[in-house]
């Protein structure tokens, strides 16, 4: 049994207590809701994409330390990146979460996840993977809506 320290790393607790890019974006930013039916978490993700670049992302709503910190770190990891890069980051993150998806590309491995690496410990707590990926799945939906 892995200890809780694998899960609740300091950096995670920091993002949880001081979430970055929290809030809302006005229209025409896209907004998408995400739920984790297991724990009741609900977030709303706002996405501003222009010229194929993720210009801004904000997240509102409530959630546990894992879902909130993951969302916070995610915003940092994607703002300013091209949509193609962001999709690669998403793939990379999901593969770290041990989620098998089609289309992991060879180059994805090179992408650094920065702070997000701290979430690696979540894999040992399978139930929490859904917490960690909530904001990511919501982001995918928002990107799809952005076209």
């Amino acid at each position: 049994m892995p200890g809780l320290e694998d899960l609740y790393r300091e950096i995670i607790l920091d993002h949880y207590k001081n979430p970055r890019n929290r809030g809302e974006l006005p229209e025409p930013a896209i907004s998408v809701e995400g739920h984790n039916p297991l724990c009741g978490d609900e977030i709303t993700l706002y996405l501003d994409v222009a010229d194929d670049v993720v210009r801004d992302v904000k997240v509102s709503g409530q959630g546990c330390s894992i879902s909130q910190s993951s969302a916070s770190m995610m915003t940092q990891a994607v703002i300013g990146r091209s949509v193609t890069e962001v999709r690669a980051v998403i793939r990379r993150f999901k593969s770290m979460m041990a989620i098998e998806e089609d289309g992991l590309e060879a180059t994805d491995a090179e992408i650094s996840l920065g702070d997000l690496e701290a979430l690696q410990g979540v894999v040992k707590f399978p139930v929490r993977i859904k917490c960690a990926t909530l904001s990511w799945n919501t982001l995918i939906q928002a990107l799809d809506e952005a076209g």
Partner: protein, 416 residues
């Protein structure tokens, strides 16, 4: 409740009847506080099922050889036990379903599609489980009925002041006997009387109440009562719809197939008598046997004793939490244990319930963190989630102590 129930049960012996509770993880016992979700099974239930599969397994109602006749008797015997347990007038009033959810859907669909017209109102409460909300919402889509919700008071009781206004012109009243989030025990007889006075069909979701106290469907006087086997020491895969003979007679069948027919021709079918009419296909035979054994077990302890035991433990839990944490802990619902069962939904020091339950799990304390399939109620409480600790006959003060102790560990990690 039954002659065989003892005046003062040996709760330690009872606890030892549950194999899961004898297990240890990491050298520490399991503290199971999730019985409102699903209950553990005593040896006698596990053995009844295994023995039946080892010695007496056979089809029911179809074949005539002795093994099959005995299996039919075992299945029907379980029906009789359940009927007696809830004081049904006749065994035929007990319909076996997969779970309470199916029972509630069966009534919503079969009764509802026969009797409800666009604009008809169905009255529920704001503390219902999804199983008593979504089936009616499906009828909103299918028929165009209107839903009304009985509001709650600040301490989590049904606010019945406006009930007659809500019932005015309504066709259905369907309410839970006990909240799976707040623990609130609702005044069923009063609700039924109000429903009757308004000419409503009345259904009671008794999922949380049947396992924990005396049930008397005749005294209740509702039209339908639904509950699940797995929350009352029985196996998964079986639930009960009780209906008055009158209502079951009138209710159209829900599923079509074997066992529920009297005759089938290419151009149509006729139905078997109640309750077979509602039990299409091969039923949960082994599970009925297990549920019968669960009823035997509960009766041997005595439902009044169980209620008393849980009332005492609930009091102890509330008092312990408050003594240790004061205002840092919020316990939803009423403090009056006469009006509530052993279900404690709590919030603790801004720590998210999911994180709380994770930390509690480190000390093998099993609680549910989430919305408890009651999202409308959660929104009313202003919480996405709570941690819910729920008690049953096999719990004791050590379980409560472990919960109280465990919360502190969460504070350590989150620095709150």
């Amino acid at each position: 409740m039954t002659p065989s129930a003892v005046a003062s049960p040996d709760w330690q012996r009872i606890r030892s009847d549950f194999p899961v509770l004898r297990r240890e993880i990491d050298g520490r016992p399991i503290v199971y506080l999730d019985s409102a979700n699903t209950s553990q099974k005593p040896e006698s239930v596990i053995d009844a099922m295994a023995s039946f599969m080892r010695e007496g397994y056979a089809p029911i109602n179809r074949s005539a050889y002795r093994l099959a006749a005995a299996a039919t008797d075992a299945y029907e015997g379980a029906r009789s036990k359940v009927a007696r347990f809830i004081n049904a007038a006749r065994p035929e009033e007990v319909v076996f379903t997969r779970n309470a959810t199916e029972a509630l859907n069966m009534v919503a669909q079969s009764w509802g599609r026969k009797n409800l017209r666009p604009g008809d109102a169905v009255v529920l409460s704001h503390m219902e489980h999804h199983a008593n909300i979504v089936p009616w919402q499906m009828l909103v889509d299918q028929i165009g009925i209107e839903l009304r919700f009985i509001p709650l008071t600040d301490d989590g009781l049904l606010d019945l002041d406006g009930l007659s206004a809500l019932l005015d012109g309504a066709r259905v009243l369907s309410v839970t006997a006990m909240s799976n989030v707040l623990g609130t025990i609702n005044p069923v007889e009063r609700l039924v009387a109000a429903g009757r006075a308004a000419d409503c069909m009345v259904m009671i979701d008794a999922c949380q109440s049947v396992p924990h106290g005396i049930t008397d469907v005749q005294a209740w006087g509702a039209d339908f009562v639904a509950f699940s086997g797995h929350k009352m020491l029985g196996p998964s895969g079986i639930g009960v719809l009780w209906g008055s003979s009158e209502q079951l007679e009138l209710l159209p069948p829900f599923l079509g197939g074997g066992n529920m027919i009297d005759d089938v021709r290419l151009d149509g079918f006729t139905c078997a008598p109640v309750p077979a009419k509602f039990e299409a296909g091969t039923p949960a035979i082994v599970e009925a046997v297990g549920l019968g054994a669960a009823v035997d077990y509960l009766e041997s302890v005595g439902m009044a004793n169980i209620r008393r035991h849980e009332m005492g433990l609930t009091r102890y839990a509330i008092d312990s939490l408050r003594a240790r944490y004061g205002d840092d802990v919020v316990i939803h619902g009423t403090d009056n244990v006469e009006l509530r069962g052993g279900v404690l939904s709590i919030a603790f020091r801004d720590i998210h319930p999911h994180d709380l339950s994770q930390v509690l799990d480190e000390s093998n304390v099993c609680v549910r963190a989430g919305h408890h399939c009651a999202k409308p109620l959660m929104r009313l409480l202003g919480a996405n989630a709570t941690v819910r600790a729920s008690l049953y006959l096999y719990n004791d003060r050590s379980d409560v102590d472990a919960l109280v102790e465990g919360l502190d560990g969460a504070s350590d990690i989150f620095g709150l």
